[in-house]
Amino acid sequence: MRKYLARRAVYAVVTLLGVSLSIFVILRVLPGDPLVAILGVEGHARMTKEDRVRIMADLGLSAPLPVQYARWLRDIGAGELGKSFFRGDTVAELIAHRGPITAEIAVLALIVSWIVGLPVGILSAFKPNSMPDGVARTLSVLFIAIPGFWLGMLIVLALLFWFGWKSPIIIVHVWQDPWQNLQIVMGPGIVLGLAQGAYIARMSRSCLLEVISEDFVRTARAKGLREGLVVMRHALPNALLPVITISGVLLGFVLGGSVAVETAFGVPGLGRSLVTAVIERDIIVVQNLVLLYAVIFVVVNVLVDLSYAWLDPRIRYS
């Protein structure tokens, strides 16, 4: 086990290095000039070559690329995430301020996905290929199919025009005012949660069906237990394991999906910051946020693997 963990850790570091190198290279070959956003259009138009050289040097962008990359890694090692090009805000501040919003959206999405997905999945598994099963399956496929940002856009407009309501326009943290905070994260949380719920429903349905056909369930049934009891008491706990782990995996998808959904809802989360930073060519912000997403992804995956070992005694890591 310890050996396995050590190996996973090495892999994780390799993955993260790879991510950092790829995003670094991609950002350096992106066409477009961060100085347009920094100086504004008018300032940029009047900038001389000398000015450019000086400003680029100030921003640390004129050093040779390997040096820039090495500096970045050194800064991360020192716990320094660097600053936005523009207003001198640090990336750490950005993450501390906006990260919680995105994290809440992810957690809310997770809760919604279980509340909606699991009962639907169980219902389907009770009577496979029945009418309710068909409806449930169609609905779940539908929710996977609807683009979240489109749904978000329609919801925002509907709320505004029918109720004259819009979610709070600046970040309110849960510890400042939980009710205001909930209004911010609710929309994206539910939209993303429904899509993930669809996966949960499908997953739990098929896992239940798989378990139900196994011997111990047949035995339970043979003992004359009621069908409901068989499913709830015997089949479900065994079927839940993969469902739990898929949630971990889906978390990564929620984080990725929140990029567009946050934009649609106008929620100032990390995903939206990332999109803005890419468009503004705020290279330092982009590279650090992408790395943060990668770290979360890698960590979650290690946890998923470990949870397997912990929940299922049949698994041994060699």
Binding site: V19, V141, P147, M203, I315
Partner: protein, 310 residues
């Protein structure tokens, strides 16, 4: 790597059973999978619409008509017109062309590259596999939308850039799923026999392993078609998709959001087209998967979602 003992091996052995005509097969398939059949029908219809766009579209999708700008659905323009008087129906129809072309090309490209790579990984194992796995992990560790966005911007926005960008995000999925298939096939007696009789690695991969991967490849591709369509739309929504004036469902949606209240017909119909098409392909994908191997489902789903297990 984690090995889960209790999991059934992922195999892709098609249903054995009496074979009838192609039509008979189809009828049998639809009877058992009504939803999938409907999905398939809608999917085929969409493809037909896309191919026959010049015949079906009532107007030129690029032709601005300044006398009929921003008109809601009416007798002449069934789905209305956009801000410069282009016919929405024609644009949705031509949009199917671009959107499906992007999705199909990206998925075929990404999944094929991924699958071939996966076969090589699964069969060769060893250092090659180890390095490849790390590369795929790196690709997967990016949020796919951001990866697609960055790549398409880096190589210059355009149709090819978008296809290429989406394809890259699909590679690791193909790679991981097919790799695990290849891993299990590798241990099959007939493959071992092939190896024992001195067949080269390439030969065995091409003639023994590859054919067994076709079924999961098809399932993968069908399922990812929907994902690709949505990514194309999201790229358009974020402003880095296929550039105008070429209509795609994604950039139609993005272009509708130019005012507080987009004219509803501009915001609604492209979104509906995306939803219906993705729905159709997903249903079809489910059906194909169930038919090819019902046991594949849970493990398969898990891998589709994360591609991490096994």
């Amino acid at each position: 790597m984690a090995v889960r003992a209790a999991e059934p091996p992922v195999t892709a052995v098609p249903d054995a059973g009496p074979r009838g005509s192609v039509l008979g097969e189809l009828v049998r398939f639809s009877r058992r999978n009504t939803l999938a059949a409907i999905g398939g029908l809608v999917g085929v219809l969409t493809i037909v619409v896309a191919l026959a766009a010049p015949l079906l579209a009532p107007y030129d999708p690029l032709k601005a008509d300044f006398r009929h700008m921003n008109k809601p659905p009416n007798a002449q323009h069934v789905l209305g017109t956009d801000q410069v008087g282009r016919d929405t129906l024609s644009r949705v129809i031509y949009g199917a062309r671009t959107s499906l072309f992007v999705a199909f090309s990206a998925v075929i490209l990404g999944t094929t590259v991924g699958s071939l790579w996966g076969v090589a990984c699964g069969y060769l194992r060893g250092r090659f596999d180890l390095v490849s796995q790390r590369i795929m992990e790196i690709l997967q560790a990016f949020p796919d939308l951001i990866l697609a966005m960055a790549i398409s911007m880096a190589i210059g926005t355009g149709l090819q850039a978008v296809i290429f960008a989406i394809a890259i995000t699909r590679i690791p999925f193909g790679g991981r799923v097919i790799r695990s298939v290849a891993l299990s096939i590798r241990e099959m007696p007939y493959v071992e026999a092939g190896r024992a009789s001195g067949g080269s690695a390439l030969r065995i991969m091409v003639f023994h392993v590859l054919p067994q991967c076709i079924a999961p490849y098809l399932v993968l591709a069908t399922t990812h078609l929907g994902v690709a369509i949505v990514i194309e739309a999201a790229l358009g929504f974020l402003g880095v998709g296929v550039p105008p004036p070429t209509p795609t469902w994604g950039n139609m949606l993005a272009d509708s959001i130019t005012a507080l209240v987009p004219p509803w017909w501009l915001a609604f119909f492209p979104g509906l087209a995306i939803t219906l098409t993705v729905l159709a392909f997903n249903l079809l994908g489910d059906g194909i998967r169930d038919t090819l191997d019902p046991r594949l489902s849970p493990a398969f789903l898990r891998m589709m979602a994360g591609g991490r297990r096994r």
